[in-house]
């Protein structure tokens, strides 16, 4: 299918448009963060400013549009810069792990033989480890911190892409080699690579889309558990760990502090949902069986 056709269809599917709009919204917030929520200290923009030292969260008011969470951290600020963090995590983790996956999958399928066997065994080994637990172990070793979390996510996140890429390449390898052998004589590796990559890239892209959402969720979970972003860092998951003690609310009104949970929680949900919707729509568009109608 032509790219222009794909783009057009992406924009006509209601759900995918919804997804695109949300991602776009978050992107705008992330890009214009310094203007929307100017940092107190320009060198440390990810430190959420505190309007005091109160333990209990305060509801939205004139000073803090979204209220403050435990320790008087401004929620609004956290949300704005949190979107930057989310995109950072998403792009870096998904970007790098996808590249690793593409690389491993392609050369493994291309060269085949014992090399392929070994690579697949290694992939299997990595795949057989419970993701969150492995990430926990890795951060226990490397220490806490968002960058360590990203390393953990990358280290344990490339396998799916590798497998997918490998099966795509194998499919094409079966077809193209025959043609290539005749047409190109000596077999131009570069042309084959380009052709192979271009054709196999779509399922990988779909997968990458979905992983944008799931990676951010996992990173948020790790931050929530306390092994990711440090306290006071502008990360949605981290902000929710502040909310933990307050979700039961105050005397008489259990929902007093709903905003400490709901606001960052909704952000994570929407971020992930939108990428999933885009990925879903993408997949439906590229599904050859649905095209035949």
């Amino acid at each position: 299918m032509e790219w222009s056709d794909i783009i057009k269809r992406l924009f006509t599917n209601k759900l995918s448009v919804f997804g695109i709009v949300i991602v776009f919204f978050f992107a705008i917030v992330a890009i214009f963060a310094p203007w929307i929520a100017p940092p107190a200290d320009p060198d440390e923009p990810y430190d959420i400013p505190r309007s005091g030292w109160k333990i209990a969260p305060t509801p939205p008011d004139a000073d803090n549009i979204f209220g403050t969470t435990e320790g008087s951290y401004d929620i609004f600020y956290g949300m704005v810069w949190g979107s930057r963090t989310a995109f950072r995590i998403g792009f870096i983790v998904v970007g790098i792990s996808t590249l690793i996956g593409i690389f491993v999958g392609t050369i493994s399928a291309y060269y085949g033989g014992w090399f392929d066997e070994i690579m697949m065994r290694i992939t299997d080994i990595f795949m057989s480890i419970p993701f969150l637990v492995a990430a926990l172990v890795l951060t226990a070793i490397l220490g806490k911190g968002l960058d360590k979390v990203m390393v953990a996510l990358i280290v344990f996140g490339w396998m799916g892409t590798a497998r997918l890429m490998r099966s795509q390449v194998l499919e094409i390898k079966a077809e193209e080699f025959i043609d290539a052998a005749y047409a190109l004589g000596a077999g131009d590796t570069r042309i084959i690579f380009k052709h192979v990559l271009l054709n196999s890239i779509f399922p990988v892209l779909i997968q990458a889309c979905m992983r944008m959402g799931s990676m951010v969720i996992t990173a948020a979970t790790l931050s929530f558990l306390g092994v990711g972003a440090p306290p006071g860092y502008a990360d949605w998951g981290q902000m929710i760990s502040f909310a933990r003690n307050w979700i039961i609310g105050a005397q008489g009104n259990p929902l007093t502090y709903w905003y400490t949970l709901m606001i960052p929680g909704t952000a994570i949900l929407l971020f992930s949902l939108s990428w999933n919707l885009i990925g879903d729509a993408f997949r439906d568009i590229l599904d050859p069986k649905l095209q035949q109608k």
């Binding site: 637990v133 926990l136 949900l269 069986k289």
Partner: protein, 318 residues
């Protein structure tokens, strides 16, 4: 076999690091645990311990790792069983239903639910449930048991058979105990199940849709087979084959979910232990747990492989 290698391999890398990180600190401790011995010696010692059933001492639990694990295991098992059963039964049934009523109102609803469920971060969902059903309604408190039940459990009047509270409650003839335990389990089970329910539903649905397009379904109809038999006998079994394939990775994710859910709900099981050991940098503890989980995974994968052969005769005969 090779998956056994997994946990070991991981451990090999990690055991090396503690030397770098802890070094400098308490020299006594280093000497005592032989942490400045060359890596292969440490690894060898660890393996040796493993073979003797000794995984070291967990600071976070204040007990030998092995003991801590076995102490917490039944709680997690109870949680897992209660979650997995509705996930598999419900997810598959709904997936089939949704595929059969393709593009109906119901189908669209289930699809939306499935996508949203998959996008919902477990811990947020758990917290919301806690907020509403405990904070507002007081129905589902955190932890495993209410205070009165906990007290009762520790007395001689109550025999602990399995340490799985609902079961024990029934076996002791104490229904209110069992019910109390159930009350504490509802929320974590639900939270754990939702995400994976959405996942199974999705996979089952798409697999079922594809299967219904196959030629042999047309043949079955041409024989005069009733439609519900076509769906349940002819289509479903074939549609389940790819679902079984993802069962393995699903369990993987489920284990991660267990950590989150237990932490959110203060449920005293392996997941919570994992959290405690990880945040306190208790290496022996977290490694032990990771190993244990790895072992469980191997077991699950074995079961999956066996059921594969059960469903698909083509695999059986190889």
């Amino acid at each position: 076999m090779l998956m056994m290698l997994g946990p070991y391999q991981r451990v090999a890398t990690y055991v090396q690091d503690p030397t770098q990180l802890k070094g400098g600190d308490l020299d006594l401790l280093i000497n005592k645990y032989g942490l400045d011995d060359p890596f292969y010696m440490q690894y060898g010692r660890w393996l040796d311990g493993l073979l003797h059933g000794d995984l070291g001492w967990s600071e976070a639990a204040g007990a030998p790792v092995v003991e801590a694990i076995f102490d917490r295991f039944p709680a997690t098992l109870e949680l897992a069983i209660l979650a997995v059963i509705p996930v598999i039964m419900g997810g598959i049934w709904l997936g089939v239903f949704s595929a059969v009523h393709h593009n109906d109102f119901w189908d669209h609803t289930t699809r939306v639910f499935s996508t949203v469920g998959w996008s919902f971060p477990t811990f947020v969902f758990g917290l919301i449930i806690l907020m509403i059903f405990y904070g507002v309604l007081g129905w589902t408190p955190p932890g495993r048991l209410s205070n009165w039940a906990l007290e009762l459990k520790n007395t001689a009047q109550f025999t602990v058979f399995t340490d799985m509270n609902i079961l024990d409650g029934i076996l002791n003839g104490n229904i209110s105990f069992a019910l109390d335990s159930l009350r504490h389990l509802v929320a974590p089970v639900f939270t754990l199940a939702v995400v994976w329910w959405a996942f199974i539903l999705r996979i089952t649905r798409s697999s079922m849709l594809e299967t219904l397009r196959k030629d042999y379904i047309r043949t079955a109809r041409a024989k005069g087979v009733k439609e519900n038999i076509v769906i349940n006998k002819h289509a479903r079994r074939n549609a389940l084959i790819p679902v079984v394939t993802v069962a393995g990775p699903m369990v993987l994710g489920l284990l991660g979910g267990i950590v989150t859910v237990e932490t959110v709900f203060g449920y005293r099981g392996l997941g919570l232990l994992a959290y405690e050991t990880a945040t306190r940098l208790d290496y022996a503890g977290i490694l032990g747990i990771a190993m244990y989980f790895g072992g469980i995974l191997v077991l699950i994968n074995l079961i999956v492989d066996v059921s594969y052969a059960f469903i698909d005769p083509r695999i059986r005969l190889e």
